[in-house]
Symmetry: C2
Subunit: 189 residues, 2 copies
């Protein structure tokens, strides 16, 4: 509502010259909020707690989107890593075009699944050479100890996802765009 | 192992002319199994029980894959439906290019997430006109009663996903390709 309060007039001066009601309505329709530390912390916590992700790739034959499930862990530098089968479609797709998307953050078994936070990452996949995978292998097995059964099969290899950006949805109306820097953190042991 | 049993010789006659051991190894490396009724039933059950999905689209500005979460239900014809915000990136993407992918089938909270079944659908998104949505709205609200709060907002609309094909992963080494007919079933009330 309009007010004669000088402070209100001052804040109005910073916004586009439209009526306050229209401004409020326009803000409500802008789905992206300014990125703050709470958004950064929430996004990082979704990455830290994720054990799996929905991976979106471009189908190598058709170019259509293709979403599949992959196991998920974080490398020493905080970037996502996974162990993938060279027989799978997503691996063939990433070998053809490394640009991809990863969705992490699972809703609980009950409640509206859209009310819970999730993070869409855009990334570039990098395949890790067999003779350079020792550290990645160790970190991955800490998150996924059962992968010990097949981690050394010739058909499996590690991939690192270099994060380009993120889209955080913290629940209805709580959308944020995050940069690679927003999503990065210091190396941990 | 090779055998002098005539039945074994007969079955060998149906396979490519390679040594049995090499044939068995080649089969083990072929990730796609022949589609059977068990695979069809499993795929349909994943669709029937899904309340949400990971939606993969092509980003309307960059063409890169983008995965986000949407609510999921089935329409009267068994095709997936969702209620989406016209403010969201995925809606803008589908308006630009309707080809998409939907991943359904959530793993339980514990255990190896790759050991549990999931289904990747390839589909084309069709936006349902406001004046033709009554039946879709009713069915959607049966699955998502809390959506009553915003189902009639001007910013929300229904989308139907016409399924083109499916890739079922029933757990390690249990991959199947399914056609639209494999995934279809008779109309239900």
């Amino acid at each position: 509502m309009l007010s004669a309060d000088p402070a209100w007039q001052l804040s109005l001066a910073r916004v586009p010259i439209i009526a306050p009601q229209a401004y409020i309505a326009a803000m409500a329709k802008t789905p992206i909020r300014p990125t703050d530390d709470a958004a950064r912390v929430l996004a990082r916590s979704l990455m830290t707690s994720a054990r799996f992700a929905a991976l979106g790739v471009l189908h190598p034959d058709t170019g259509a989107p293709h979403v599949s499930r992959i196991a998920f862990a974080l490398g020493r530098d905080g970037q996502p890593i996974s162990l993938v089968s060279t027989l799978s479609l997503h691996t063939r797709a990433l070998q053809s075009n490394p640009v991809c998307s990863l969705l992490v953050g699972e809703p609980p078994a009950t409640g509206n699944p859209l009310a819970f936070a999730r993070l869409s990452l855009t990334a570039t996949a990098e395949f890790i050479a067999r003779d350079a995978r020792s550290e990645t292998r160790d970190r991955y097995l800490k998150t996924h100890p059962k992968a010990q059964l097949y981690v050394d099969f010739a058909d499996f290899g590690f991939v690192r996802f270099a994060v380009i950006s993120g889209a955080l949805n913290g629940g209805f109306g709580k959308a944020y765009d995050l940069s690679a820097a927003d999503l990065a953190w210091k190396n941990r042991g």
